[in-house]
Amino acid sequence: MMPLLKVENLQVSFPWKNKSVKAVDGVSFDVPHKKIIALVGESGSGKSVTALSVMGLIAYEGGKIEGGEIIFDGQEILRMKEKRLSKIRGKDVAMIYQDPMASLNPGISVGDQIRESLLIHKIASRKESKQIALNLMREVGIPDADQRYGSLPASFSGGMRQRIMIAMAISCRPKLLIADEPTTALDVSLQADIMNTLQELKNKIGMSILLITHDLGLVAQHADNVVVMYCGKVMEESPVDKLFEEPLHPYTIGLMNCIPRIDVTQDQLFYIPGCVPSIYDYPMGCRFHNRCSKVKPICREKMPKLINLNDDRKVRCWLYQ
């Protein structure tokens, strides 16, 4: 079956001084129907850029698509005209943003913001949309929905605002929900809550979720597949249980080792030596080679390809080629 979302060799650049730098350099992955795919990596690895590209919003942030393909539900996103794109956005693919404080319009009531998508995509009339919005608020767990419908976002806590964002995103029952670090700005106690809500809704609506995060714990609990990104490239792609059982790429191994364990006594916490190379000055060959403990001479010269190992695992490393 065709995946819901297919990203093929996506390349996105940003202008810098007289040149341009590639934030995403040949990223490919699939999002099947009704699955949660986690896009994992450090800050600056290109996860959010990938997400915005899928939404067709990268130009708004100053980025430029240099190449590749994004096929969503059989439609080519990258060459679609803005008018057509706006018909898909919010309806078939929706996004939850990182900072719920800033992502809601401070001057419009939450109820109106939730029902806006319904009106734009003509899913309901003005009267009906209000009722639907109220139901959505209850669905995501906002207490006293009737009283709070007309309140401004400033009167809600961080967790509640994120729920409002979720309500907004799922209002049109999208096929794909992109959740960009949905719990980063929230307390740990709320994180599980939000993720559970997302999981429930996914089962209820039957949507896929592209979960962007750097939190491996979240990934372990909720994701079906994991795509590991580093310096704008996919390093490894694998079902979640296999990834945690046996990570293949040295970077992934390093990430796993960074998670503190209570069952193992450690004098010192593990860390990946070196630092992430600057986007303006990527090293030749494999971008991880200067931090890799298993580096080989060829790693310094040539970039390895992303190859399939067994049907469901992919890795970009000379160790496996």
């Binding site: 939404m55 919003l57 942030e61 001057g107 806006e116 009106l119």
Partner: protein, 302 residues
């Protein structure tokens, strides 16, 4: 019932109004010959200060009683003042409305609206128009109208009052500078708002760029634009003086200048208080609109 805080606020505003009125009258009550001379090593004023205060107090009280009296030529001040006041009010209000509408639309068109165009050119376009003195604008308008008149096109009347045609030129001249200021504030606010995250959210929902502009950006920008208006109120009032003077428009300015010329200090003081009142009226109006706007935000927004 009004809370203590509200009462205090109202009282302080009234106090400010009274202080303004008294000081304005005082400025006009100082005789031109007032000076200090050194006699026997001491500073002695050439005019007793208590007389100045006496004059000032009597004018202040008569103003409070709304007993405006007569000017030096024997004309009843209240009639004369009322007509001029209404004419200036018409000029001011029409210009502000025109300036606001023109300014907001120009500001939107000037703004980047998310696209990073040539910043420098935009700055030049916004700075140069507000650098043109209203004197020049009025002079150019008049020359233009005279040029038209010389070619038998009598749309505009160059000076005086009485018909709407007389008011066109002054209204247009008066609205140009504030329009550019408002355009500048608008474009800055709109640019600012477009950088905010909620614009991305709105786009992500499928909003068209038109919808993003009017439902999301302008909703927040207008508040800031209205909040920036009191800063240009004083500019608008002093521009009104110039425009009225240059077009010989018989509003409060002409009245004031006439009374200064015949050295009628008392009437001049009263007129200036009425000119000053426009400042308070306008700022009060902006505040009301701002509050109303905030309230209406909570109702149906989409």
């Amino acid at each position: 019932m009004l809370g203590q805080r509200t009462i205090r606020k109202i009282l302080s505003k009234v106090l400010v109004l009274f202080a303004f009125t008294y000081i304005s009258i005082f400025i006009f009550s100082i005789p031109y010959g007032y000076s200090w001379e050194i006699i026997d090593g001491r500073f002695v004023s050439t005019y007793p200060l208590y007389m100045i205060f006496k004059r000032c107090n009597s004018t202040f009280i008569s103003l409070l009683e709304l007993n405006l009296g007569y000017n030096i030529k024997g004309k009843a001040l209240n009639k004369v003042l009322f007509t001029s006041f209404m004419r200036t009010a018409l000029l001011l209000s029409s210009s502000i409305v025109l300036a606001f509408v023109l300014g907001v639309f120009k500001g939107i068109s000037d703004s980047n609206r998310g696209n990073k165009n040539n910043v420098f050119a935009k700055i030049l376009i916004s700075v140069i128009p507000i650098s043109i003195p209203d004197v020049l604008i009025a002079a150019i308008m008049q020359s233009f109208a005279i040029w038209l008149n010389q070619r038998d096109i009598h749309i505009f009347k160059v000076a005086g009052a009485g018909t709407l045609a007389h008011s066109f030129l002054p209204i247009i001249s008066l609205s140009i500078l504030p329009a550019f200021y408002i355009a500048r504030i608008t474009s800055l606010e709109v640019n600012d708002c477009y950088k905010k995250a909620y614009v991305l959210t709105a786009l992500g929902k499928g909003c068209s760029s038109k919808r993003v502009l009017w439902n999301h950006v302008m909703r927040n920008a207008i508040k800031s634009i209205i909040e920036g208006l009191p800063n240009i109120t004083s500019m608008i009032i002093s521009n009104t003086l110039i425009v009225e003077y240059m077009f010989s428009y018989p509003g409060l300015t002409t009245l004031l200048m006439d009374h200064i010329a015949i050295a009628d200090r008392r009437s001049s003081a009263i007129i200036i208080v009425f000119i000053g009142s426009f400042y308070f009226i306008l700022n009060g109006l902006y505040r009301c609109i701002s509050t109303l706007f905030n309230r209406s935000n909570r109702r149906e927004a989409v």
